[in-house]
């Protein structure tokens, strides 16, 4: 006797079929009625991408590197996201801001290259949590499909938000984060010339 895992197995027999079983009709009707009943039930699927399911406001999808209200990149290549990343998906190289680039980069150091390998990324959001400059956020966008593996390594061209197409992440910022941002004396609350306090909406 073979090893029995459950007691639901049925023993096959060569018993002769009854008349109703020989007709097959009751069986067919029973099966068709199940199929028919499903025609009138709500569909389990949606026609993606024409139709999309609602996603949570704090859905963890494709990352964005935010700019501040003046259009300068917030990221200062501090490397905290990369060290927090459990999948080691983030790499970056830093560079020093030159004179005249103050409108491009907010701090004296900026990320020359910033890459996220979307195949490695597990979308846990720890980079967002680690970021001291409110620069990286996950958004409710879904990462595109690609044909080549290399194309999943997103550089600054894909990650940094466009100045004319801002991405709203205000929903991701909790009350505590907002309160912390308003602390006076924090350098990232002042503009690059160190004079005016900016009111950050994003």
């Amino acid at each position: 006797m073979a090893l029995q895992l459950t007691n639901r197995s049925k023993v096959v027999s060569n018993k002769e079929q009854s008349v109703s079983e020989k007709l097959y009709l009751p069986g067919i009707i029973k099966g068709m009625s199940i199929t028919l009943s499903h025609l009138f039930k709500r569909r389990a699927t949606v026609k993606y991408p024409d139709e999309q399911r609602p996603r949570a406001e704090v859905y963890r999808g494709q990352h964005v590197l935010k700019r501040d209200d003046n259009g300068a990149e917030r990221c200062t290549a501090c490397g905290l996201c990369a060290v927090a990343c459990p999948a080691e998906a983030i790499t970056m190289e830093s560079a020093e801001r030159k004179k005249g680039e103050e409108n491009l980069y907010r701090e004296e150091k900026y990320a020359k290259t910033y890459e996220i390998n979307m195949l490695r990324c597990i979308f846990c959001g720890l980079c967002e949590e680690a970021c001291p400059k409110e620069a990286i956020f996950l958004t409710d966008r879904i990462v595109d499909t690609e044909f080549e593996r290399d194309d999943f390594v997103y550089g600054k061209d894909k990650l940094v938000e466009k100045t004319d197409k801002r991405i709203d992440v205000s929903k991701r910022q909790t009350l505590e984060v907002a309160a912390f941002k308003k602390l006076p004396g924090l350098k990232h609350n002042t503009m690059w010339d160190g004079k005016k306090q900016i009111k950050d909406k994003h």
Binding site: A77, L80, E96, E107, K109, P184, G185, L186
Partner: protein, 327 residues
């Protein structure tokens, strides 16, 4: 002389300070120190982070000292009883000291090259409060280039005077010192005069914060992405024993070797520090010891070879992977 620190008794020679005695016992009782440096004479007494409570002056005079004392400048007496971490009063006072040290310190750790090996970061993390109560404009200075290899961010300076002592005692002909007084004091080279001495680079190593940084390493990488290894080379100016910080096969920077109190073993010369940035220049001894609590220990496997050998031995003992008997 017998002295008791946090309930642990130790016998020390005459002339030992409380801080040194505490360090002899170990890190569990040693107070933090930002300005005191064993290898620099007359250092200490500025930062006040090493304050301790003396509950009994000596056997001869068992009265307690009225106020917390700076342990780096107070010598032990026979029968002295000292409280450091066991005294809530001292912990509270130290928290205040940290708050004062941080009053003018900018919150630019994400930009600062010292982040990850900064003593003020550690101190603030261990003893400070989470939020600042300071609401006024912080002291700001322009960056100064001291020679072409050292950058001085006066904004980050906590005025520990270690660099001044280095220039005074390790190098000859001091061109670097502190000007003005009190709150307005600043480290200066007397009108940006370059330090051309062979040992001037050591001011980078002694600086507990990111005020003096290596320009050849500026913004190259965060320290925790680099791999520190102990290495040496033949040098006729210094001992040649250094710590080389690698990223891949690239030498990003060279520093002196530091002990558990973050003090250098031996000062190194500028030749070793700035001009030998190739792996072939160095004889690499092995990975440096990094504290488990440090962020630099991320992906840092000090005993990797030992671990590998151990695993291999175990596997062999269990009969897996009979490497020797493979045809």
């Amino acid at each position: 002389m017998k002295v008791t620190i946090d309930g642990i008794e130790i016998d020390v020679p005459k002339g030992t300070t409380i801080l040194q005695a505490a360090r002899m016992i170990g890190p569990e009782v040693a107070p933090p120190a930002m300005c005191y440096y064993t290898k620099l004479k007359t250092s200490g007494g500025y930062c006040r982070t090493c304050i301790v409570k003396v509950t009994q002056g000596s056997t001869a005079n068992p009265n307690p000292m009225p106020k917390p004392v700076a342990s780096c400048r107070t010598e032990v007496m026979d029968g002295m009883v000292v409280q450091n971490f066991t005294s809530p009063e001292i912990l509270e006072a130290r928290k205040g000291v940290v708050e004062f040290l941080l009053i003018n310190h900018p919150l630019d750790c994400p930009v600062c090259d010292q982040a990850g090996e900064c003593k003020l970061q550690d101190l603030g993390y261990e003893n400070g409060s989470v939020k600042t109560r300071y609401e006024f404009k912080r002291r700001e200075y322009d960056m100064i280039d001291i020679g072409d290899k050292i950058k001085l961010h006066m904004t980050r300076c906590i005025l520990c005077y270690r660099c001044v002592k280095v220039c005074e005692q390790i190098t000859d002909g001091r061109v670097h010192g502190a000007i003005h007084r009190g709150d307005a004091a600043e480290i200066s080279t007397y009108i940006d005069k370059a330090i051309n001495n062979d040992f001037s680079g050591n001011v980078i190593d002694v600086c507990p914060v990111g005020a003096l940084t290596d320009k050849t390493f500026r913004f190259k990488s965060r320290v925790w992405f680099t791999k520190p290894v102990d290495a040496h080379r033949k040098c006729d100016k210094c001992c040649g024993k250094t710590r080389v910080w690698l990223k891949g096969d690239e030498v990003l920077r060279v520093t002196a070797r530091k002990d558990q109190w973050d003090e250098v073993h031996e000062f190194i010369c500028n030749d070793c520090r700035y001009d030998h940035k190739k792996t072939s220049d160095w004889v690499i001894e092995g990975p440096s010891h990094i504290s488990r609590n440090s962020v630099i220990s991320q992906n840092h496997y000090e005993h990797l070879n030992e671990l590998k050998l151990q695993a291999l031995k175990q596997q062999k003992a269990l009969g897996f992977m009979n490497i020797d008997k493979r045809p």
